[in-house]
Symmetry: C2
Subunit: 651 residues, 2 copies
């Protein structure tokens, strides 16, 4: 197998693209230890091998074998409208994308063997005309590009392209890329700028085609992506069950003022829109996405970064409709949010994008993966009640796999490419966007920079950056100052202040020398968080945060026999760090003094106010322990809350 | 057409049944004016004719014609698993049940003509072996009683039986009854005590078979109902998509401690369980249902009486999971709750059952019907946000009909038989269970009683009961004292106190004479209601009630440009009655002083507490107007809230 080529990364704007920041090459960042090294190790050693087994068991590989000519029945764990799910190939592609980034980082005979099986199957399954979709080829061979609403054919090809690009960029391996280009050409003949006026019900192809253009230089792919964007919002998909907004066909990509409909569809669409906008220098389109994104962050985002409130149609709800218990907050939506924020960060330099990436990676994505790396949440609620045994079987725990298994391999590829998001460059220098123990290499205009970052982040707030190599001209080092940090002090070499604005990152322009050392100290005092008054579902509650992490309380940490519903927090309470190494290496929990009120049972749960009626039961004070939300649901069934009712005032 | 027979009513326990109270005959209660007369008039003159038109348009009658031998394609507005809905016949039956009660009350040539069309079609559609289900007969004729999970065949026959009983009891018309008996015998041959060990995925047949037994005296029907109950809870239906609790197959009817799964399924099942329990004197079974019901009222009931929180599977949620905005609160579940509470009231005499009937009829069922009687809610939320135009098309307004149209004809039959719930008798006398302008005739052991009730209820709290005729022996008149009434004073003839316990109804045993007059005065002071602290979704909110009615605030009553989210209520505020005849004849709204806080927009909707940070914006005080929830959503799109955030304390 070829070794990595000179350039890598899943999002690589061309030199002509209108972007504020540029990504590093994937091979220029190595996670060297600490919190993230362990997450990536589990992903590589446990999650990805588990994924291959599951794809084999669930029938995804079997179905590709059928498309390649084997005989048998199409298999799926789930049904949609009485037929097998039509998007099963995409899970194989997402898994392959993860495998590509991993092999680019370090070889593995077993992973190569598994990936070769999948790649070989995919190549053999492709029709001579380039068409590739096992569902259609096996079950409805004459129906290529017919069921665009629900068929997910372009969505699948999009994931094929993204996998192919990982293999090309990380490994210089062209096998998947050749398949992907033929598949792209097939769909472009049918549906491209001169083809049928149609779009896919699930966006994804748009960003994939832009990246394919960036990889091959074939502008046809960019033009097709652009035309798919322009066709959307004119009712081509109709309304079907959930209304036209479900697949963002209710308003044009340029005009839609807010995110709407199916969360993953909206976010993937906006990823593609940014990619097209940057390559075409289309500032109107970029600003439309940025405006929607700001509104989404302000009105439709969970504290964890999770997105998409509604179970029924996996959709964003109304503004401020953010129920913690019935949160949908699909793992894939959090992943899509990071994909979108990364593209927006590159395109605009808006530092709040990096804040969203951090919050979402730690609190929206990592909690979806169980401690052993082989179980996953599809849905990520911020509250779980103590559920009577039979009422809701299986809904409360992570599962090894799902009939619709979009999330697990999406989590795999996200972790496998996470270090690509660590830093950016511009004409002035380097911006450290995320904090982790890592070696970083980057090109600034006057030469090569090498940095070594050491930190106990996210458990401690100190980040030390050692300059290992630097050119002899001045360049700017920028450290993101997270919005959550009340205080962020930087000790620059030789003392003195930085020269960048506080909120927009602390930065200093200097001639840096090997041996220079910068120390960032972020305020890790625990914080009590209040929600906007319009978030009805968590009115009268507070949450706990420390550093970049959201905390929660689980039954497992309560006194025996206590119910989570009995505890309340005074907003003025001061939580204290509480080491919890048994949960996770280095983990820091919080200990906090809570009021405990026994619960009275009423025959009717609504009572009239009156001077002599008080719903306040007698109160005791107890110390309770909160844990990082990313470690929740690893200790068996039980209740959990991120938002704890406030004591004092409303009960 | 024959005139009403001597006995009537949809629930008529046999003389041998173990019941505490007995229903009156339907023809012994006439609504003579006021609030309910107008509701019943709209139902008769507008809703029921609209229903026939819609059944005709939607294809329900067409499909029965196909089953009767006509040619054409099976029609349905909706699909389930890619096939037409299989339960469309039931809507015709529910409509016919409504028509039967209406014609029993008063003739109508047009309604008779429409009903004759439907009855004739049904009779012709029935197979010679008694089997009757247009879906199976047209689309899968060899599949009778095969798809018991989703096929709804027994559910449909249950509604056929209930319609047939209305026609028999109200009109002495046997046409439908003959069809129903043959259909019942068909299913009993296949699935009865000696038939296959199977049950229907949607309970309904159980209560219908008991009532058929009560009508025909054929004990076979009672035995079949009993065996269906005993078979449930042993996993015969399997888990399918939503788990075994979805169709109450996770635990036996005797053992299940709480309601669970699909709300209408659970409530219909428990109706059948009470019917069987009372006819067999099975106190264990009765107590199981009563226990479940008390737990449901205490932990899973909306302030409006609505039931079933979750959209995804139309299910009860966890205890205290009662979101106002994402409330499902299906109209059919409120109807089923009244059906269940009525049966429990008869079986046990528990007066809280009559309270639930009152609350649910006025606040859970009537709001599902639009002002003109020709539009309906399927889902009845307690909060509607101001929805951006395109985001959720159609979800916010009542519809003329639904692809799954279970609710509209269910509302029709509920209103057509409502007066049957007005009063009950026992060996001691008469209990007035609901207050309305009505003439009531009843038999007490020593002769006939006639009463005339006059009242402006629910707008006023005074109820006057004139004794028109009475036997010369003493008997007991009992007036329900609603749990909501802080004060309930009764002026008995000749003064002096009653002899019944206050909470369980005010009653007096006396030799009553024509001309005697009893006046009940219920305290109609508006009330501020607080929720149990465990109902997370409405923490820190209050609601307004007056008399038996729940109130809400709509955008239409706010100052121009104001947003509902800006207003809060002090719990000590005193609302003032506010006549609103433009909404509904005699309607009384409430006027209340609210604090108004301008809303600040934040880039991120969560903020850290700190000594100098206050989320309290400057405050003004404004008078706002609340309307009865039963009149909401009749003035165009806009926001609505039943639960208003409290001011003071938590914001």
């Amino acid at each position: 197998m070829a070794r990595p080529v000179r350039w890598a990364g899943s999002v690589l704007p061309t030199d002509a693209a209108a972007v504020a920041l540029r990504p590093l090459r994937a091979e220029d960042v190595s996670i060297t230890g600490g919190f993230w090294a362990e997450r990536l190790r589990v992903n590589r050693e446990h999650t990805i091998p588990h994924g291959f087994d599951q794809l084999d068991r669930a029938g995804n590989l079997h179905d590709l074998r059928l498309a390649a000519g084997a005989t048998g029945s199409y298999r799926a764990l789930g049904l949609m409208f009485g037929a097998p799910f039509p998007f099963l190939d995409s899970d194989v592609y997402k898994w392959l994308e993860a495998a590509g980034w991993e092999l680019g980082r370090e070889g593995s005979a077993e992973l190569e063997r598994q990936a070769d099986i999948a790649i070989d199957l995919i190549a053999r399954a492709q029709r001579p005309d380039g068409y590739l979709n096992s569902f259609v080829q096996v079950l409805a061979p004459a129906q290529a590009y017919v069921d665009l609403r629900w068929g997910h054919e372009l969505y699948c090809i999009g994931h094929l392209i993204q996998a192919a690009i990982a293999w090309k960029r990380a490994l210089g391996d062209d096998r998947l890329l050749e398949v992907a280009v033929r598949a792209a050409e097939s769909l472009e003949r049918a549906l491209g700028p001169e083809g049928r006026n149609a779009i896919d019900g699930h966006p994804e192809i748009e960003m994939a085609l832009v990246e394919l253009y960036r990889t091959t230089g074939d502008r046809r792919h960019l033009e097709t992506a652009a035309v798919f964007l322009e066709r959307r919002g004119h009712g081509l998909l109709g309304s079907d069950r959930f209304g036209a907004a479900y697949w963002q066909d209710h308003a044009t990509v340029r005009a839609a003022p807010t995110v709407a409909g199916h969360a993953v569809r909206q976010l993937y669409l906006d990823c593609g829109a940014i990619d097209v906008a940057t390559e075409l220098g289309d500032t109107e389109l970029l600003e439309a996405v940025h405006r929607r994104w700001r509104n989404m962050v302000a009105t439709r985002t969970y504290l964890t970064g999770g997105l998409g409130s509604r179970h029924r149609d996996e959709s964003f709800g109304d503004p401020y409709e953010l129920p913690p218990d019935q949160a949908y907050a699909e793992s894939c939506a959090a992943i899509a949010s990071v994909m979108l924020a990364w593209r927006l960060l590159l395109a605009t330099g808006d530092p709040s994008c990096a804040d969203v990436i951090e919050r979402t990676m730690l609190n929206g994505i990592l909690p979806a993966i169980g401690r052993t790396g082989t179980s996953f949440f599809y849905v990520n609620p911020l509250q779980r009640r103590t559920v009577p045994a039979a009422a809701d079987a299986g809904a409360g725990e992570r599962q090894a796999w799902y009939p619709c298994a979009c999330c697990p391999p999406n989590l795999m590829r996200t972790l496998s490419s996470w270090e690509q998001l660590l830093a950016t460059t511009d004409a002035r220098g380097i911006q450290i966007q995320q904090y982790a123990e890592a070696d970083v290499r980057a090109d600034v205009p006057w030469g090569e920079v090498r940095l070594a970052m050491t930190t106990g982040y996210p458990w401690t707030g100190r980040v030390t950056i050692d300059i290992v190599a630097a050119p002899t001209e001045p360049w700017t080092l920028t450290l993101r100052r997270p919005a959550w940090a009340r205080e962020a002090e930087v000790a620059w070499p030789g003392g003195g202040p930085g020269d960048g604005p506080g909120r927009d990152g602390s930065s200093r322009t200097s001639i840096w020398r090997p041996g220079d050392c910068v120390v960032l100290e972020l305020d890790m005092e625990p914080r009590i968080i209040l929600p906007d008054a319009r978030i009805d579902a968590i009115r009268g509650c507070v949450a706990l945060e420390r550093g970049p992490l959201v905390y929660c309380v689980e039954t497992a940490d309560l006194p025996p026999g206590a119910m989570l519903e009995e505890f309340r927090l005074e907003p003025a309470v001061v939580p204290v760090p509480d080491p919890r190494p048994e949960l996770l290496d280095g983990a820091v929990g919080l200990s906090v003094s809570a009021t405990r009120r026994p619960l009275d049972d009423h025959a009717w749960p609504y009572e009239e106010t009156s001077p002599d009626l008080s719903l306040q039961s007698p109160v005791e004070t107890e110390e309770i322990r909160a844990i990082p939300y990313l470690a929740w649901a690893n200790r068996g069934p039980g209740a959990m809350r991120v938002w704890i009712p406030r004591d004092g005032g409303a009960v």
